[in-house]
């Protein structure tokens, strides 16, 4: 974890391991606690927490590992995941409700229904995905705090 709060900006990075369903959710849990401590509006915390958890679970299920970065500025919360692969072949298809490439093991845990990305979009003000097959994906979720 790395914290940098100069200029009223907080930045924290959490490493997320591929396939580690035991630790999955730790980063989102810490993110939620931090947002509460800062005193962000509870409705916004809820939206940010859901989007963050979906993004973290996606890293665990789909990526070969990566990092979840939380950036809190006076006007917005940015949750960014960066992974080392495998990349998304068709982003439009991935955004469709119900489309998934998740494994049976993730389904047994209650995930992999193809709802993650659409749900992130529902909770966020903006979701941006940049992905290249074979190299990796950067997902950026922005939630305005209205300050």
């Amino acid at each position: 974890m790395r914290e940098n709060d100069k200029d009223n900006i907080i930045e924290i990075s959490f490493p997320v391991k591929s396939g580690d369903f035991v630790a999955a959710g730790d980063a989102s849990s810490k993110t939620k606690q931090l947002l509460k401590q800062i005193g962000i509006d509870p409705a916004i915390i809820r939206r940010a927490s859901i989007a963050c958890y979906e993004a973290e679970i996606n890293l665990v299920i789909h990526s070969m590992g990566g990092t979840l970065v939380l950036l809190i500025t006076p006007v917005e919360i940015i949750i960014r995941t960066e992974d080392i692969g495998p990349g998304i072949a068709d982003i439009d298809l991935a955004m469709k409700e119900g489309y998934t490439t998740a494994s049976d093991s993730s389904r047994e845990l209650g995930f992999g229904a193809g709802m993650g990305l659409p749900n992130m979009q529902r909770c966020a003000d903006n979701v941006e995905i940049v992905s290249k097959l074979g190299s990796g994906t950067v997902l950026t979720i922005t939630i305005k705090t209205g300050a």
């Binding site: 999955a24 849990s29 958890y53 209650g110 995930f111 229904a113 709802m115 749900n119």
Partner: protein
């Protein structure tokens, strides 16, 4: 319409796993699901979760959504790791021998709505 967790416990003939000092909390709606992806999409705060899924992500999901109470159906009892997580997050856990369908039906009959209805 809302129910206290005391009422929920009676209606479902449930046992408390943890949280017996928090039974005066109220719930305004309930959601029955094994798919946490669905729960993350549909559930609001003050909603109670009923599930047959028994793993730590049930607690994680509840935490993210500010869900204060979870009912494990068909007599399922979570392991100590899951109970510890619930205690840390002040989430009440129940277990009932009813099936998911029966447990949801009993609560609905008592007046507790689902999320799609205008509660």
């Amino acid at each position: 319409m809302s129910l206290t967790l005391y009422q929920v416990k009676d209606i479902l003939k449930a046992d408390i796993i943890t949280g017996d000092t928090m039974l005066d909390k109220t719930v305004k709606a309930a959601c029955g699901a094994d798919l946490m992806s669905d729960v993350l999409t549909f559930v609001d705060e003050k909603t109670m979760l009923l599930t047959g899924l028994n793993n730590p992500h049930v607690i994680r999901t509840a935490e993210m959504l500010d869900v204060g109470a979870i009912v494990f159906v068909r007599g399922k009892k979570p392991g100590q790791d899951i109970i510890d997580m619930a205690v840390e997050r002040s989430i009440v856990l129940f277990t009932t021998t009813l099936t998911l369908y029966e447990a949801c039906g009993e609560l609905y009959k008592a007046g507790l709505p689902g999320k799609s209805g205008q509660a």
